[in-house]
Amino acid sequence: MSEKAKSAKEHKYEGGLAVVSADKVKDPGLEPHRVRMTDKSDKHERSANRQVAALFLLSAFGSIFSIYAYFAFPITEDLATVRANNLWLGLGITLGLFGIGIGAVHWAKTLMPDAEVSEERHQTRGSEEVRARAIEIIKLADQESGFTRRKLIRRSMYTALALFPLPAIFFFGDLGPNPGDSLRHTMWKKGTRLAKDPDGTPIKASDVTLGSVFHVIPAGLAELHHDKLNEKAKAAVLLVRVNPAELIETEERKGWSYDGIVAYSKICTHVGCPVALYEQQTHHLLCPCHQSTFDLVDGCKVVFGPAARPLPQLPIAVDAEGYLIAQSDFNEPVGPSFWER
């Protein structure tokens, strides 16, 4: 082979499948070298020298200052001291690190040699001799290990490797547990008292005056230890009293309110934000996230915005002592749509 005689530059480039055009763009070469001020004038070089030194010294100052700030602005019982501590420590460390970086870059840009250099892009393909030798070595390795020859070993090795990742599929199952039907039910049951958020004191119907808005959780939620937030996220309810004459109720829901007091789920049917912005005069309920607007006197139907379904209504009644109670759970899952809904 005459490959050894050919130099790298003369190696014929094979474009493979690329289209090689006759009048392709010519290599423009390097742009004309522009002489820097620091090379032309001694004064500029000296001042660049001082600038780099100044930047490094600034970094040193920053590092020392942050040590000083650690002792001078300690974090105490007063929460406001966090602010000063964060600010000065942060600025000190930033100066310390940035000073080194900017100083180094400035040094390289102004004082180090700025001659343009080209990098040759050689073919990565090896010479024929090298390629032949490589094939020889691979064949030798196969021969010595007996990989091709020993069928039993090879096949049993494939079996072991194929089965090794399989347990992970079952381990990932532990990422659960599956929600099951927990999205379909909330803590509300027949007879559960409506209680104030957050302390859980029950609410009397007479407490709810015209125009009032109560933020309600089921009685017993405030004392829950396990899963409290999950249950609250489903069971949060808004209790409002409107003029009964303004209330538009369907036949089947006539018994779900009490003298103008209505209770609706607080979880938006769009993406699940709590809908609690109640406008007393327009009786609209606004969700702050995507501005779904619900009409409270008309079954919380959607009057504006991206929500697709009205808010579920909690049927309420009054028990013997005058406290508001739920008649049952919601008649549909609360909150946003999900696949199996």
């Binding site: 522009r34 820097r36 001020m37 620091t38 929460l79 406001a80 966090v82 602010r83 964060n86 600010l87 870059v105 400035h106 840009k109 102004t110 700025d114 104030k196 958020d197 957050p198 609410i203 009397k204 407490d207 709810v208 005056t209 015209l210 125009g211 009032s212 808005v213 109560f214 933020h215 409002v240 709590p274 609690a276 912005l277 109640y278 406008e279 007393q280 005069q281 327009t282 609209h284 606004l286 702050p288 501005q291 607007t293 504006f304």
Partner: protein, 268 residues
């Protein structure tokens, strides 16, 4: 010299500017003397001591002159304004001393304006409206003192108020031109009265919903937020993640882009 002076005097007498100046002087004189006269009348009435019954009578006079057009004689209400029977002295004190009433432009929501009455006049009107029907009373100084539990107040605020007024009371938008005002600088008395009366589209938080102690805790929380700098640094008006993101995108990212441009540029 004197010839020039005479000439300029003659010119200024003939100048059209002179007419404007004379009219302006006349208006200022008549307006100023009216203002002085009314001020004199107000200060003179404030000096006399008023009994409760006189206060109600005075309040009725003011009501008929300023409020009855929309709220009806005896406060029964008209198409233009709701009935005031049962709204209580707290409503009047809140609406009038924050300047919202007398309502001027009709629209989705009335805004604060310069207050149009003196404290005595407001007290008189409040007494009159309170006499029309039982309603929430003006809170005492002890009820609005900021010596409650600010942590509990914060929890109650976040549950009941923050959805409209923002987690630190920076205000928020409602539908169709309405808004929940920012609470910074709002006197504690107005905060209490607004909670208990439910002005305009704000719901009513009666004493069974938020007890007077709860309301005091909320006032304490708002006072704390207003008087203490945020531990996290510059609050950006307490507007939350959008304002902070905008700040970072403009200044933070801008700075990074400038530094990147400098890094890649050749030195001169």
């Amino acid at each position: 010299m004197t010839n020039n002076m005479k000439k300029t005097l003659k010119n200024s007498r003939r100048s059209p500017l002179a007419a404007i100046l004379v009219i302006a002087a006349g208006l200022i004189m008549s307006g100023g003397s009216y203002a002085v006269a009314t001020a004199a009348v107000e200060t003179s009435t404030a000096k006399t001591a008023i009994s409760a019954q006189e206060q109600i009578v005075e309040g009725e006079k003011l009501f008929l002159a300023n409020c009855a057009t929309c709220h009806g004689t005896n406060g029964v209400g008209t198409k233009a304004g709701p009935t005031l029977i049962g709204v209580g002295a707290a409503s009047v004190d809140f609406q009038v001393s924050s300047g919202r009433m007398p309502g001027q432009a009709s629209g989705p929501q009335l805004d604060k304006k310069p207050v149009q009455f003196t404290d005595e006049q407001i007290a008189a009107m409040a007494a009159y409206v309170a006499s029309l029907g039982v309603g929430p009373e003006i809170p005492t100084a002890d009820m609005i003192a900021a010596n409650g539990d600010s942590a509990r107040g914060g929890e109650l605020f976040r549950i009941n108020c923050a959805m409209c007024h923002n987690a630190v009371g920076a205000g928020g938008a409602l539908t169709e031109g309405k808004w929940a005002p920012a609470l910074a600088g709002v006197p504690a008395k107005h905060v209490y009265e607004a909670m208990v009366t439910g002005p305009q589209n704000m719901p009513v938080f009666n004493d069974a919903n938020l007890t007077p102690q709860d309301k005091k805790d909320i006032i304490t929380y708002l006072n704390y937020v207003e008087t203490n700098p945020s531990a996290g640094g510059y609050e950006l008006a307490g507007l939350g993640p959008v304002a902070e993101g905008l700040f970072l995108w403009i200044f933070g990212l801008g700075l990074i882009i400038l530094i990147t441009m400098w890094l890649g540029a050749k030195s001169n």
